[in-house]
Symmetry: C2
Subunit: 228 residues, 2 copies
DNA sequence: TTAATTTGTTAGTCATGGCTAACTTTTTTA
DNA sequence: TAAAAAAGTTAGCCATGACTAACAAATTAA
């Protein structure tokens, strides 16, 4: 446990910054995360970010040298992981018990993840019988803070003739999520790559006995496990 | 429905004030609610309250004349009722599904009631099969905003020999709630008034084949239905 | 009915967390 | 390697919602 017990006195804003920084560091493509990237990700000005980073450094959740790149301390990471755990558990609850669809959960989970109660989230976890994955296929961190990520294979990285199973989708865009469910894809859907068109990078895929053409951008946001 | 659709753009603070004002107006003892009473109830300074009331008047949720008493507009009432609905549904969920006890729910429900999502709360209601009462015995307002209160008969108003059933408890104090459950009282418990001691206003009651002595203050916070 | 008390209001301050504009440092690229 | 671009920082502003201190109005009591 942390030496600060459960005195988690962070504001919603502080939590947002820590979680965003964690996601850029751990799940992002950029090797280094700087002030402006974080600002862009959170859709706030670089000045606001700079200001908040100062505060988070003072509280020892963030480390960085002047004009240098940002990193999280262990305590900072731990807070971020707890937020991600809360977010994913709520998403799971909303989808599995309250009839929410993929594209509806994110906004509400963003609010619910800031509710402060250890018991609430651990009981919710138990109530759902300790789910391993959220509705988008992402792993849910455990109560003791184990964070791991699935090896991500993009649908766009496969070759003609390959067969795979849908493991997860990027939950960054509501429109994308709507589109995915509208065409009928769900977790575990079996997908076969019929054709990759060099001309425009579009991909013809088959699933549920239908054939669809999807763009490269679409396929970049769909993560799969190759099975053939 | 309101003419503002669902554009419920109130801050947490604004919501807190509206709900508090509603509770003082509808459930409180005072015939008139003024600025200072509201301030005391919310544990903020009269100046803060005055400031917020100005804003809520500008937004047409509150009406009052200068130096006059406060009242809510229909829109203000409607917002307060929706908050109470959310609060009580969450309390019900926490108690019935997540193993929370009477004294634990309030603090967490205070946070959950500010989560903004019409679908969330209506689905939660459906998930629990439209409960009528919250864990403390209070009626839960319906989705279309019907607010009603149980006729409140205080345990302290009964006479020796009367028999009653526990209908609701005042949920204003954690310590009181803890005490109620520790001695073994639950909703629907049958209680018999054994003796009322004039000397110190204490009351001897019998329930579950045990006899307990409770204070007048305790009995003022326990609401019952007389059955004999 | 005046004086005391309570209640309500205003002015001015503070912290949080946004913002823009201007500036500095670092990195890129020509 | 010097100029341009990008990234980071600082100063100063704004809104929100707290606060205290001082003051005004209304109510209660003498």
């Amino acid at each position: 446990m942390t030496n600060k017990l459960n005195s988690n006195n962070l504001t919603k804003s502080e939590e947002d910054y820590l979680k965003a920084l964690f996601q850029l560091l751990v799940e992002g493509d950029s090797p280094k995360v700087g002030n402006n990237l974080l600002a862009e990700y959170l859709k706030v000005s670089p000045a606001s970010t700079n200001n908040m980073i100062k505060k988070l450094k003072a509280k020892e959740y963030v480390v960085s040298e002047k004009y240098g790149k940002l990193d999280l301390t262990d305590e900072g990471k731990s807070i971020a992981v707890r937020l991600i755990r809360k977010h994913r558990l709520w998403e799971t609850f909303l989808c599995n018990y309250l009839n929410f669809t993929w594209d509806e959960v994110h906004e509400v989970a963003e609010q619910l993840e800031h509710v402060k109660s250890r018991k609430l989230i651990d009981e919710l976890d138990r109530f759902m019988d300790f789910p391993k994955k959220d509705p988008h296929g992402e792993l849910i961190p455990s109560a003791d803070g184990d964070y791991s990520i699935l090896p991500k294979v993009m649908l766009s990285s496969l070759l003609e003739g390959d067969v795979c199973q849908l493991e997860a989708v990027n939950d960054g865009s509501v429109n994308f999520l709507k589109y995915v469910s509208e065409i009928g894809l769900v977790l575990s859907s079996e997908i076969k790559i019929i054709e990759i068109r060099e001309f425009d990078n579009s991909i013809r895929i088959e699933f549920n006995n239908v054939i669809e053409t999807v763009t490269r951008k679409f396929a970049d946001n769909v993560f799969v496990k190759k099975i053939l």
